[in-house]
Each structure stands twice: as C-alpha cells, then as structure tokens.
C-alpha cells in the first residue's frame, strides 16, 4: 500500500485520472440507487424546473428528470466509447503487429491506408456512414460506426513501436531458436508493449467518446437514447443557452468534462509507466 502511495506521488497524473473516473463510477452507482431511471423518460416530471431538492439537476423541456438522465446516460456514453475503443485498438494491434513484424506488401498497404485515413476528417466520414444507415441508430450500432475509424491511429502508433522492438536482441534470439512468427508476436513482443497498449486503449476510448458525442450533437445519434451527447443535442435544439435554462447543459457538460479529463490524465499516467524516459526531464 505504501509502495503504491509512493508511486502515485511520482506519477500524479495516474492518480488524478483514476480519482476522476472513480468519482464518475460512484456517481452512477449511488445515483442509480437514489433515483429511478424511469424518471429519465419524457413527461415524468414537470418541465423546465431549475435544480431543487426534488430534482437536484433540474428537469428539461420534455419533463425528464435530468439527474435520472445523467445516471442512465453516463454508462451509455461510456459503453459506446469502450466498445469502439476496444474494437479499434484490437483491430489496430492485430494489423500493426502483422504489418510491422512481417513487413513487405502487407506493411505497405496497412501503412498507406492508415496514413491516408488519418488526414481525412474522421467526423465527416462517420457522418456519411451514419446517414447511410437505415433508420435511427441504436447505441451499439453507434459504437460500431465509431469503431470503423477508431483503428487508424492505434495501427499507426503501435506499428512504429513494433518496428523498433523487432530489432531487439531477444527477438533475434527467439527467431534464431526457430520460434514461429505468431509465437514471437504473442510471447516476445506483445508483453513488452502491454503498458503502451493500455495507454493507447484509454486514448482510443476518449477519442471514440468524442466522435460519438460529435455525431449526437449533429443529430445523428440514437434519438431515443439518453446518452450525454443526445442531451447536448436537445440543449442545442431547444436553444437552452439563450433561454437561460443553465441547469440543462451544466450537468452533461460537467460529466463530459470529468470523463475527458479523467481519461486524459489516465493516458498520461499510463504513458509514463510505458515509457519512463518520458518522466519530466525539465
């Protein structure tokens, strides 16, 4: 325990990140005990009430209890991020290892696609995909849509890491002792990159959440779901800012801020574990 504490003092980003995300988890847990998420449906509360004892976060124009909406919506938004992030990093890791270890034609194609794909504004491609899907999206379809571009960045960065790793002595030894290609990838290369993969994953989750919120604010999200991005869509749709209904957008904004800051500090903390040389030299 004291060792953990000592490490945290050396790596405060990790602690901040974990603390913020824990707060969020506690909010959802305690919230789901304190409030019935059925109240997140329209017309379950009087419309447009500022925060009060009955409705701590106020209610929106359609008569949703915003506290209930936040409790129900936070996990939904995180789910989109985690599904898309896992799919993206999973696919990206696979492609990166295959491309960087075997090189040759596959590598040229993978690198080319990732390089070109990254210069294209992702949100716009996602818009075309979302518009092309018949009807409104469900939360899971949303996650898969976002995942369709989420592999580009992991592929590129992980590939660069593997390229330097594969020239190390121990990989050479494994190759000479006739270890198979997949064997080397799984037992020699991957374990050494685990902290780096973790940092990439957290980063991918954050990017995916950002993309999903972007689609939702534009009105391409799961219209009948209660995700944080959809709440912001309704905020914008009803011009809550100009009308002075400040509580409507405060709650989702604070939660989204906590999500992004938490994930960001977690990434920085994990990066420091993955690459101690990064440790502040100044």
């Amino acid at each position: 325990m004291s060792a953990a504490l000592r490490y945290v003092r050396r790596n405060p980003s990790l602690a901040i990140g974990i603390a913020l995300l824990t707060m969020l988890a506690l909010f959802v847990l305690i919230g789901s005990l304190a409030v019935d998420t059925e109240d997140a449906r329209p017309l379950s509360a009087p419309a447009l009430r500022p925060p009060s004892a009955d409705y701590p976060f106020g209610t929106d124009r359609q008569g949703r209890d915003l506290f209930a909406v936040m409790v129900a919506g936070t996990p939904l938004t995180l789910r989109i991020g985690f599904i898309a992030g896992f799919l993206g990093v999973g696919l990206g890791t696979m492609l990166a290892f295959i491309a960087a270890y075997y090189r040759g034609f596959v590598d040229t194609v993978v690198r080319g696609v990732a390089d070109i794909g990254l210069t294209v504004p992702g949100l716009l491609v996602l818009i075309i995909i979302a518009v092309s899907i018949k009807g409104t999206l469900t939360v899971n379809q949303m996650a898969i849509t976002v995942a369709s571009l989420a592999w580009l960045y992991p592929t590129r960065t992980i590939r660069a890491q593997v390229l330097s790793l594969r020239e190390r002595g121990y990989v050479e030894v494994a190759r000479l002792s006739s270890m198979s290609g997949p064997g080397i990838i799984f037992f020699e290369l991957m374990p050494n990159l685990l902290p780096y993969l973790a940092a990439t994953l957290v980063n991918a989750v954050s990017t995916a959440i950002l993309a999903s919120i972007g689609l939702e604010v534009l009105g391409l999200g799961p219209i009948d779901s209660l995700t944080l991005g959809m709440t912001l869509y309704w905020v914008n749709f009803n011009a809550a800012m100009i009308n002075g209904w400040w509580w409507w957008w405060t709650a989702p904004t604070v939660i989204i801020l906590t999500v992004f800051l938490g994930l960001f500090f977690l990434t920085v903390g994990l990066d420091e574990i993955a690459n101690p040389r990064l440790r502040r030299s100044a």
Binding site: V120, P121, L123, I127, I128, S132, F264
Partner: protein, 334 residues
C-alpha cells in the same frame, strides 16, 4: 527528384479525392436500397414542407442514377458529375444548388479556421518553447497544468462554457450567429467589426484548446533539442541567449510541429464543425447540421466531399513545402 516526389504526392491527393467520391457513392447504397431515392420519393409524397421542384429533382435523379442503369454506369455518372463539382440541387433549398450553398459557407469557415489554426499554432509553439526554456520567467511553470487540462476538452464544450460566461452572464460578446440580425453584409468598418465580435467566442474556444496541444508537443521537442551538442556548443561560444533560443533550439524543434499540423488539420476541422453548430456560425458546420436535420442528402455529400478534398489539398501543400522548411530533407533517395 523533387519533381518526382511532388508528382507522387499529388497522386496520393488524387487517390484521396477518388476514395472520398467512391465512399460517397457506395456507402448509401450498401444498405440494399438507395436512401437518396427513398428520401426524395418520401419528400415528394409529403409535399408541403419542401417548396417544390421535388418532382423535377426526382425525375432528374432517376434519369441519371435510374435503376435501369447498371451499377457501374451509375458510378461512372457520379464520378463524372463530381469531377465537374456538380453535386446537384439542394433538396431543402431548391432551386439553389449545393455548390451555391457551399460557396456561401466556405468563407466563414475558412476565415474562422484559418485564423484560429494559425494563431493557436504560433501561440502554442512559442509558449511550449518558453515552457522548456530554463531562463523563462518562473510564473510560466504555473501555465502547464491548465494547458494540459484545456487540451483534453473538446472545442465545443469549452465553447458552451465560454458562451455562458462571456455572452450570457456578462454580456460582453454576441451569443449567436456570424453577424447581427439586420446587419447589411458589406465591406465597411461597421460590418467588419460586427463579424469580428461574433467570431471572437468561437475563435477563443478553438484557440484556448488547441494552443495547449501545440504547447505540449513543442515543450517535449524543445527538451530533446536543448540536450543536443550543438546547443551546448552555441552556449559555450558565448552566443546571446535569444540567439541560442531562436536560432538553435526553436528552429530545430519546430519541424515536427509542422508535420503534426498536417496530421491535425482533419481533427481540428471535425472539432470546428461542432463549434459552428453550437454558435450557429454560418459556415460549413452549420450548413451540414441543417442538411442533416432536413435530410438533405445532396448537401451532406457535397459538403463532406468538398471538405475532404480541401483538406487533402492543404496537407499536400504542407508536405511539398516541408523541404523548404527543413533543408535536411530533400526527398532524394540515398
């Protein structure tokens, strides 16, 4: 050799253009039926909401992309149209063409995005360089944590908070739009000032967030560069601190930043689209938002295609001028 590189790089640009057009054509058709056709027919059946021209548009669409044509023929027709930058009419704003709508919106986005990207890049890079410089004032150290935190926030979220503070609580700046309602657009001092005021909040939310990112990247590069032998040598020679800072450290550390800029343009644009939506700024983002609300497929496709091509061209230009910035790179094969 230089020439070969430029031609090759231009080929990549053309590839991006072709891919964007192909995505635009095939993605909507993947679901088995053609949603553009479905939407058109639906609008035609509804009537009312859209002023008219729907029947003509449906007929025109049928003629060009009719089911009687084989798919490859439809595809070629589409490519041909796109190569002439013909994106058809706007469904919701008939008889205006998609091109007219985009042409109206582009100056706004270009102005906002061009200025903010340039400003945040310059400010962030200088700030990052100073943060790593040991002789910088001490108070600058305190800038790091807020920069980090800002950098993690999406543009539009900061935009919401800034709007509340600077336009709603303390009404210093206009809250919405690109210029005041009733203002007559024209090249005069009054209108320019109006536009500038309206652009401040969206610009601020982009600059504050992205300057942090550039500062962080630059700081990392500076730390590495300052460890180089030639910097030590320059100091040992007794060169003045500003000379060492500007010509030995900054000059070398800024190069990866330019590469990063080329890569970041796409992300910046994605973020700016949402900023425009939040502020009702009359650029590409708002056009897109309205088109999505009105199911205006032609506009959505036109905007997405135009933006991808424009950005592809911007990265092409950045790549081509890069050797000029960094004489060590000549794109010659060793």
């Amino acid at each position: 050799m230089q020439f070969v590189f430029i031609v090759k790089r231009f080929g990549v640009f053309l590839l991006i253009v072709w891919l964007a057009a192909t995505l635009n054509f095939f993605l909507p058709r993947l679901s088995g039926q053609d949603p553009v056709r479905a939407k058109l027919l639906q609008q035609a059946a509804l009537g009312g909401y859209v002023q008219g021209g729907i029947e003509e548009m449906t007929r025109e669409y049928e003629r060009r992309f009719g089911l009687d044509q084989p798919l490859w023929h439809q595809y070629l027709t589409y490519l041909h149209d796109v190569s002439r930058l013909d994106f058809n009419y706007s469904i919701a704003n008939y008889p205006r063409t998609v091109n007219e709508l985009i042409a109206d919106a582009i100056p706004w986005t270009l102005g906002l995005l061009g200025t903010t990207t340039l400003l945040s890049f310059v400010i962030g890079t200088l700030l990052g360089a100073l943060l790593a410089w040991p002789r910088a004032p001490r108070w600058m150290r305190w800038l790091m944590p807020p920069l980090w935190a800002l950098h993690a926030i999406p543009f539009f979220l900061l935009g919401l908070i800034l709007t509340y503070l600077l336009a709603f609580q303390f009404p210093l700046l206009p809250i919405f739009g690109g210029y005041s309602a009733g203002a007559v657009p024209g090249l005069n001092w009054h209108f320019t000032w109006d536009v500038f005021q309206h652009a401040l909040l969206p610009a601020l939310s982009i600059i504050l967030v992205s300057a942090g990112g550039w500062a962080l990247g630059m700081r990392g590069m500076m730390v590495t560069t300052m460890g180089e032998d030639y910097v030590l040598f320059a100091e040992a020679k007794g060169l003045k601190a500003p000379t060492v800072f500007l010509q030995y450290c900054l000059r070398n550390a800024v190069l990866p930043q330019v590469t990063a800029l080329a890569l970041a343009l796409g992300q910046i644009l994605s973020g700016a689209v949402l900023v425009e939506v939040i502020f009702g700024y009359p650029g590409i983002g708002t056009l897109l938002y309205q088109a999505i609300r009105e199911n205006d497929h032609f506009v959505i496709q036109g905007v997405v295609f135009t933006v991808i091509v424009a950005l592809g061209f911007a990265t092409f230009v950045l790549d081509v001028i890069y050797p000029w910035l960094d004489p060590r790179i000549s794109y010659q094969r060793a």
